[in-house]
Amino acid sequence: MAAVSEVARADLRRLRRRRLMESRWILWVTTPVLLLLLLGAWKLYTVISGVGALTVPPPEAVGGALFELLGRDMLYEAAYYTFYSTVMGFIIAVVVGVGLGIVLGKMHLLEKISAPFLVATQVVPKVAIVPLVLLWFGFGIASKIFMAAIISFFVVMQNTILGIRSIDPGHRDLMKVIRAPWWKRIISLDIPSSLPFVLTGVELGVVFAITGAIVGEFLGGDDGLGALAVVMLAGMRTDQLFATVIVMTLMGFVLYAVVSAIRRVAIPWHESSGRVTSL
């Protein structure tokens, strides 16, 4: 009898733990708590170590700088610029990455032949080609869009290839047996089956895109959050530099959240849809 109730209690504990894991609201509690702890540790460090405010400004100084920045148009103009080049570059990356991914996923030989070149576009240090990009696309927004696109395109393409390759052979047989025409196979099998992979690639891609756009802004031109950060650094305003980085992070969060929400809505049948993130 005792053994039975022991098992039942263990079951109950497991159930409770699962409920806790599956519930979303837990994040609304843990995130602020962890954030506060982090701020506390930061403050403590600046006090104890006696590090200068120019190197690591205390949190309240950064908060003040952020508050001040939020009151100025400059920040919104820069943020909009970065947002715009990120989104444009990201859209290009998704279109090219998914398109190329489908083609390469279907044609094994072509993928094999082109693999060294595609990998080469990835292993070449992107920051090193920024001068070239500036030369070709100028200091305007085109070079930022290009950077965002080239940095995020690969992960989208790779995931699309993986998605096309991961289609269950049994499902392919099924489509043959019901004699579905080629377009029906694409609509009813290829696309929905590879969608979880593609969307994971897209979700990762948006994070890469914002990185690409900011790197482009760091190295050329006067617009965007990246350029703003450079200005802050030159003016020795470390507190404002920190504040700018926080704005970049928030923007990344927003973009990621939007794409991630799209993924969950688009594939409600998939196991991953219950999860908050695929990262």
Binding site: D173, K176, V177, K184, S188, P192
Partner: protein, 283 residues
């Protein structure tokens, strides 16, 4: 009952020897299959002849690995024979030496795979409808037919569920409904009831027999279960492994419709015992 020892067995007396080719629903001649594998070629099936008459219920029975799935997949054009020819009705699916199937020959075909192979992103109703899509019936009619099939296999309450929300046996029943929804002429089933419990299995056997009696489809069904084979079959093709070959062909003469109680018939027991001894004789 006839027992043959040669590696290939021809059709039984139920189908006339010199009948026109159009007399059979499925006709295979000298069909063999060798898979190329890393560890060397695998002779899945040695040259085999078999004729299945229109409206006949043929069961392929044999132990694991004797080439049942291979044979069935060749009949569906999913696997290319290494040798030999396959004809469906009066059309050629595989001419000798052909590298691709002539799929037009298949007409309408229902196939139940060994695994349910439902599309996980479609709800059960949409899964059952799949073979009807793009083939004529409108949205309304598709849904009606899918609902009717779901009722037949006892899934009417699960039309709105995703496959992962169903048990393995329920998924397999959905797959059976899908295979039948477009009313195919030929039904090929690869261990369709392997995942079901004994009671559900009996029910499904009764249901399948009834569907077959009502529609007169040609059925080729693969099973491991001797009693299932005897209950359902007009003819049992006994296969033996390594290399896969037809060991024996047995006629089953019980009148239709067969009730489950037919298994109490002494002749039923004799047949089961005979088949078991045949299967046991394998090297």
């Amino acid at each position: 009952m006839s027992s043959r020892t040669e590696p290939t067995a021809t059709e039984s007396s139920a189908v006339s020897e010199e009948g026109a080719p159009s007399g059979s629903a499925i006709e295979i001649e000298g069909v063999s299959k060798t898979y190329a594998a890393d560890a060397g070629p695998v002779h899945a099936l040695t040259p085999t002849d078999l004729r299945v008459g229109p409206g006949e219920f043929v069961v392929l029975l044999g132990p694991s690995g004797c080439g049942k799935t291979t044979l069935l997949r060749m009949l569906a054009g999913l696997e290319v024979p290494t040798q030999g020819s396959v004809r469906i009705g009066d059309r050629t699916l595989f001419a000798p030496g052909a590298l691709t199937p002539q799929s037009e020959a298949l007409g309408s075909l229902g196939f139940v795979f060994q695994a349910p192979t439902l599309l996980p992103w479609r709800r059960i109703a949409k899964n059952i409808e799949l073979p009807l899509e793009g083939k004529g019936p409108g949205r309304r009619e598709r849904r009606e037919r899918a609902t009717r099939m779901a009722e037949k296999v006892g899934l009417e309450d699960f039309l709105g569920h995703y496959p992962r929300q169903l048990s393995g046996g329920m998924q397999q029943r959905a797959a059976i409904a899908r295979a039948l929804v477009h009313d195919p002429d030929i039904l090929l089933m690869d261990e369709p009831f392997g995942a079901l419990d004994a009671m559900t299995r009996d029910q499904m056997n009764i249901l399948l027999q009834q569907l077959w009696l009502d529609t007169g489809k040609t059925v080729v069904l693969v099973t491991h279960s001797i009693s299932e084979a005897v209950f359902l079959a007009d003819r049992i093709v006994l296969l033996s492994p390594r290399p896969g070959r037809v060991q024996d062909i047995v006629e089953v003469g019980f009148p239709r419709p067969r009730p489950l109680s037919v298994s109490a018939d002494p002749k039923f027991g004799e047949l089961v015992a005979y088949l078991r001894s045949q299967l046991g004789e394998q090297p």
